[in-house]
């Protein structure tokens, strides 16, 4: 027995059994097991941030050297674009004033007016195809508190869907990317009465940067190039967030029409993202509004 206890294989086996038990326990809702990783996070996160900023500085420096000519060209093109946009801005100012008047009169709501948008930077990305959640530098301390079963949409700077927040800690959030096989979102073709369906992450398509559309109605005609946005069904994501375009449609089985979607957001190239949190009116204000209504 003593020999067994001293055996490195026996010790390794016990450690592996404990780790496997911890991994299974971590799957339970509200599991305290994850708190064991907190000290590791406190030590490693600052070190990783330092390495990341050093890498970014080097990349920027290299870009400054290599992209000089391209930047000059781009600058010239941008100046022309600015002049053009200024002209259009002047033209549109009056239209904007009219829109504001009509918005008041017709009670038109902005698409995301009921959401508070928080900015966050990406701290770390996926390690491999299975260790694939993304870490953001905004957490509960910044107002991003997540209750069990709830989730918040994450968008890129062009307001395209990137993924959803699935876990928050004091200072960080974890995002499930759009291509992950556990991701699902109700979507529709961006047109009046556009066909609705579900979009899922798919392990096989993920390798090509695509996701899968299923539950497509037999009567709907989808075509490559059509823009897909969130439909708002299910309540998790508001309606109208751009997702991507249809890459291909498979009508071979009329009972199970599928399509592949190429998302707009390129997660590998993102640095900053936005988290959309439904606006909750403070209780005092809500009570005041209710009493005034009465």
């Amino acid at each position: 027995m003593k020999k067994l206890l001293k055996s490195k294989w026996f010790i390794a086996l016990i450690i592996m059994l404990v780790l496997a038990a911890c991994a299974i326990l971590s799957l339970l809702p509200g599991s305290p097991v994850k708190r064991l990783l907190k000290p590791v996070q406190l030590v490693t996160s600052p070190a990783q941030s330092m390495v990341k900023s050093a890498g970014d500085t080097l990349t920027d420096f290299w870009s400054a050297i290599t992209d000089g000519i391209a930047i000059r060209e781009e600058n010239r093109a941008l100046k022309e674009q600015i002049a053009d946009l200024r002209y259009h801005l002047t033209q549109n100012e009056e239209a904007a004033l009219r829109y504001e008047e009509l918005k008041e009169a017709l009670h038109i709501k902005d698409m995301f007016s009921n959401y508070v948008i928080y900015g966050a930077s990406i701290l770390s990305r996926e390690s491999d195809e299975w260790f694939s959640t993304i870490r953001l530098n905004a957490g509960e301390a910044d107002g991003i508190a997540l209750s069990e079963g709830n989730s918040y949409p994450v968008l890129d700077v062009e307001m395209n869907l990137v993924g959803r927040v699935i876990e928050t800690s004091d200072t960080e959030s974890r995002v499930l990317p759009l291509l992950h096989e556990g991701f699902a979102v109700a979507a529709k073709v961006n047109a009046v009465n556009g066909a609705t369906f579900m979009i899922y992450g798919d392990a096989e398509l993920k390798q090509q940067g695509l996701c899968l559309a299923k539950n497509i109605d037999q009567d709907s005609r989808l075509e490559p190039g059509m823009e897909i946005v969130t439909s708002g069904d299910g309540g998790l994501f508001p309606e109208g967030i751009p997702i991507g375009v249809i890459e291909s449609v498979d009508y071979s089985n009329p009972l199970e029409i599928t399509a592949t979607i190429r998302p707009y957001s390129q997660i590998g190239k993102l640095e900053d993202v936005f988290i959309m949190i439904p606006y909750v009116e403070p209780e005092d204000n809500a009570a005041t509004a209710a009493s005034q209504g009465n």
């Binding site: 490195k8 390794a12 450690i15 592996m16 780790l19 496997a20 911890c22 991994a23 971590s26 799957l27 809702p29 599991s31 097991v33 994850k34 064991l36 990783l37 590791v40 996070q41 490693t44 996160s45 070190a47 990783q48 330092m50 390495v51 990341k52 890498g55 770390s124 990305r125 996926e126 390690s127 491999d128 195809e129 299975w130 260790f131 694939s132 959640t133 993304i134 870490r135 079963g149 699935i166 876990e167 974890r174 499930l176 992950h180 096989e181 556990g182 991701f183 899922y200 992450g201 798919d202 392990a203 096989e204 993920k206 390798q207 090509q208 940067g209 899968l212 590998g268 190239k269």
Partner: protein
């Protein structure tokens, strides 16, 4: 008269060099994955480092480095798994479990008879990558069947072509600089280790494969 004896010096060197490499490699892995991605896969620097630490420096080095790298992996990019209730949850300790096992695996094959020579370190990396991918694929397949989440599954052919082959290629490429780091700028003196190669049989390497 030296203040610190040779053993203590070697231990300090080991801890300091491992700490620097682990922090650097894990940070680079999750901060700039696109820099070493190909065909939708990313070279797994942490994985390769753990295998090589086990291969060159023995069982306990592989196990401890694997354990620490796994903890960091669980903090930086833990896997999200579809639970039996259909909810997607972030897990913990799967990274530690994986890399701890990989460190031991790296120390156990192709070590004793090959005297941990450099060319066979590539074989060790390729072998460990193949075992990792195969077991991961089987586990995911089994779990998907239980949880009913078929989106996580792909055909064996697709897995081999789009996942296994690119990963094997990328890990083999990543093994070149990491092998040089561990062997020649590593936590253990190359000169010292050459003299003590016979201790591998007792303290480090396994004899499972008599190559």
């Amino acid at each position: 008269m030296p203040i610190i004896n040779i053993d203590a010096k070697a231990k300090i060197r080991k801890i300091v060099v491992y700490a620097i490499y682990i922090i650097l490699i894990s940070s680079i892995q999750v901060s700039f994955p696109d820099a070493f991605s190909l065909f939708g896969q990313t070279a797994d620097l942490m994985f390769v480092f753990v295998v090589l630490a086990g291969y060159f420096n023995g069982f306990w080095d592989g196990a401890v480095v694997g354990f620490i790298c796994g903890l960091i992996r669980d903090v930086f990019s833990p896997p999200a798994v579809i639970g039996l209730d259909g909810e997607v949850r972030v897990t913990a300790f799967i990274g530690v479990f994986t890399l701890f096992a990989v460190g031991i695996l790296g120390a156990s094959f192709f070590t004793s008879r090959m005297h941990r020579n450099i060319p066979f370190s590539f074989v060790a990396v390729l072998f460990a990558t193949f075992v990792y991918k195969t077991s991961g694929y089987i586990l995911i397949y089994g779990w998907s069947m239980i949880s009913g989440a078929t989106s996580g599954m792909y055909s064996p052919f697709s897995a081999f072509v789009y996942s296994f082959l690119p990963q094997l290629l990328l890990n083999a490429m990543a093994a070149v600089p990491l092998m040089l780091l561990i062997r020649f700028l590593g936590p253990v003196s190359f000169k010292e280790k050459k003299q003590n190669d016979e201790i591998i049989g007792n303290d480090g390497g396994g004899k499972w494969l008599g190559i």
